[in-house]
Symmetry: C2
Subunit: 160 residues, 2 copies
């Protein structure tokens, strides 16, 4: 697997799984009807680093972004987002991409990483805790899940 | 004191205390050098409700915004920000404005309010807890305070 910074040419390969994941409404606190144009602006807005993972055939199977979570006096706390093509799940892609982005964040001078809204029923919570993230707190009843009803949103944190 | 929704004419009266508060670098995780144009975009961007409080002479002495904290399946959790002219502090303006905005959020159908980054040395933490907010968690060592060094950022929450 190759992990690298994304180029503008990668977006059309990110969008199909981005759309599928957000439209399912189970893991991201974004509008399930988000248009491709708005999705691109969300994922690749200026000031963000964007990464992709390619499988052995060169197909883009996952993407991540890295950005400051706050500004000014708190700008050394990073935020990131991760999406793995659901058809390619369970092969270690998410873990490899996460480790790559954590290293990149440390190299960029960030002191810690925060995820602001991890749906508590998301299986990825196990990946994050295995990578050293802790749950700082949970916003109760915040997310209307299509199968589980109202669930909480974890705020997760890891020092770098 | 009159509290009302802001108009475009109010911004020039908000900016002087907005600038003073952010330039001090003690309470907001925004760039202390934020330009007036960027500040206006931050405070009054589309989709936000903006409020002002006037004193008995009609002078604008405080402002707040109200906006969804997340999108899509979590859009019923609100976020808000509050600034009181430091020259007018200690007269109950912040509390009156906060109660007004909490009522407005409830009326708009929000289920709860979250503040994402309350500097733990900010005296306003006492106001928020007295209004029923709890500290969900604290991002440690996140904020470089000019007098206190590295301090944490509280994530605060209140059901509506």
């Amino acid at each position: 697997m190759l992990i690298r910074e994304a180029t503008a040419d990668d977006w059309p390969h990110i969008w199909p799984f981005w759309h599928r994941i957000v439209a399912a409404g189970e893991t991201y606190a974004w509008d399930p009807d988000t248009s491709e144009e708005d999705a691109r602006a969300l994922w690749t807005s200026p000031g963000r680093r964007v990464y992709v993972a390619e499988d052995d055939t060169g197909a883009v199977v996952a993407s991540a972004y890295l950005t400051p979570n706050y500004g000014g006096p708190a700008a050394r706390i990073a935020n990131a987002g991760f999406m793995v093509d659901p058809d390619r799940a369970g092969r270690g892609t998410g873990r490899a991409l996460a480790e790559y982005v954590l290293d990149a964040a440390r190299a960029d001078g960030y002191r810690a990483m925060v995820f602001n809204a991890v749906v508590e029923t998301n299986p990825a919570v196990r990946l994050w805790t295995s990578l050293g993230f802790t749950i700082l707190g949970t916003v109760p009843d915040a997310f209307d899940h299509p199968r589980h009803g109202r669930v909480g949103l974890h705020i997760m944190h890891r020092a770098l």
